[in-house]
């Protein structure tokens, strides 16, 4: 009887993993098989020329650069805002105190807000400030979108830091701030993961940037110019009636996937280097 139970559990687990891997494989296969034929050097090195969306030549360098600039600035801004929050609710306040709970709950709500709402909110701010669709607007909206992800995932790892480790610097006569620095060092790998998660979410989100960053065929040269982004590039090309353009959408998706992969591997590599030498 118990043996049967174990067998069934094993099969259920295997099946669940199998289904997920199958879906992932299917998506990848679709993107690669459709996108690879139309992927060429022009795609990543040229901005769209006139009539690009009707099948004329050009590339999506505008969207690649736009996405990278956008995500880089947003991650920098939101790490500077969310790291202090996460450290504060874990190490300065008592982790289980009421105030921490309220802050955590607020970020949980932010986490659940659909990205289009952040887009609309960013749009509202832009109208208020008198801005037009611009890179800056996109950065604000995406920062808001990824901040709760960062806070919550740093919060998770911060909760794992043992009390003894925090008391070690304290008992040497360290101040609270010095203790927090030790804690931050301890959770460096967790912070890297948080960055990775938010990069993945932020770079692939279309709804936030649609209303705020706009779309353009050129690479933005200032924060106040509109910026193209990869998800929107995919969206616009997919909605084209020309089949060739539709296929380009898949190669844009492939590029986006590759960018995320590269970012992911390199961040992991860097964090492992850091933790090897310091931790």
């Amino acid at each position: 009887m118990r043996k049967l139970e174990e067998q069934i559990m094993k099969i259920v687990m295997l099946m669940a993993s199998g289904i997920i891997i199958f879906i992932l494989g299917f998506i990848l296969w679709k993107i690669i098989s459709k996108g690879l034929p139309s992927l060429n050097w022009d795609m990543v090195s040229k901005t769209p020329s006139g009539g690009f969306y009707l099948g004329k030549e050009g590339g999506i360098l505008n969207a690649i650069m736009g996405s990278l600039m956008l995500i880089f600035c947003s991650v920098v801004i939101s790490i500077f805002l969310s790291l202090p929050v996460a450290l504060y609710i874990n190490f300065i306040l008592n982790r289980k105190s009421f105030a921490s709970g309220v802050i955590r709950f607020a970020f949980d709500i932010m986490f659940g807000i659909p990205s289009i709402v952040y887009g609309a909110f960013g749009f509202m701010i832009m109208v208020f400030l008198g801005l037009q669709a611009s890179l800056l607007g996109g950065i604000i909206a995406v920062s808001l979108l990824i901040m709760p992800i960062m806070v919550r995932s740093i919060d998770e790892v911060a909760g794992q830091v043992p009390r003894d480790l925090l008391e070690a610097p304290l008992s040497l006569g360290a101040t609270r701030f010095e203790m927090v620095k030790i804690a931050a060092r301890q959770i460096t790998p967790g912070i890297t993961t948080a960055i990775l998660l938010s990069v993945g979410r932020g770079i692939g989100d279309a709804a936030t940037v649609m209303l705020t960053a706009g779309f353009t065929d050129s690479i933005p040269t200032s924060l106040l110019q509109p910026a193209a982004t990869l998800p929107l590039a995919i969206f616009f090309q997919l909605s084209s009636p020309v089949e060739e353009v539709q296929n380009r959408a898949y190669s844009a998706a492939l590029i986006l996937t590759i960018i995320i992969l590269i970012l992911s591997f390199s961040t992991r590599y860097v964090s492992r280097k850091i933790s090897k030498s310091k931790i």
């Binding site: 043992p162 006569g173 310091k278």
Partner: protein
Amino acid sequence: MEINLKRYQDTMETDPVNVRSGPVSLTKLSYPLLRVVDLNVTIQHKHILKNINLQIPEKSITCIIGPSGCGKTTLLRSLNRLHDDNADITISGSVMVDNEDIYGKNVEVTHIRKKMGLLAQRPTVLPMSIFENVAYGPRIHGTRNRRKLYVIVKNQLEAVGLWEEVKDRLKTPAIKLSIGQQQRLCLARGLAVHPEIILGDEATSALDPIATTKIEQLFLTLRKEYSIVLVTHTLRQARRIADYVAFMYMGELIEFGSANDIFSNPQHQLTKDYISGSFS
């Protein structure tokens, strides 16, 4: 356990004088560096420590023994003000270090903690290299000079017998050391800020016998210069290294005296029972 408890209550009624922990033959001791006066600690309205009065003799090893949950660790942590951040805990009474009440109004907590090194149950190496672990304390207290730091690190690592083992890999992360080495590193780290007192909270309970012996030997050497207070769960350890023993039960200090007195001639029935192993 229940029987013992009953006996304990009986003795409480009949012989209240003995329960209080008045200074037991402390006249021959030197002036106590660390003195606990009328210390009461409550955690969420539960009375954990009841009227503790204790004088820790200088330059010797004092072991605090007692069954689980009797408040040993709570007492040890109050000596270092580690309860500060817990809002559930209220503390009254005073702990005098160098004739200064550490719970006094204008006392800076970092200054107090610098005087005491704490050794936790499991080694808590900081997420940095071996060298940096020992240098951390002096560094936060203002020593920046690398040569000076190197001298301090070398001396302290020698003091805990770790220098020969790690001198070629001072830059490797401290977490790579074995758990016994880590605990000795933690001790060296604590010594680097020149404390007067060393507190150990079951500092050997996570270690294997050989590592335990090494740490115990270190304590025996260190007691020439430091006052050492150890909470220990193993009576045998107290027998091996203690100069003085404090026996606690249900939040009260039942008996305090020299290790010899406590182990060979305990005054109190409870102490007798605990030492003979009829409860633990």
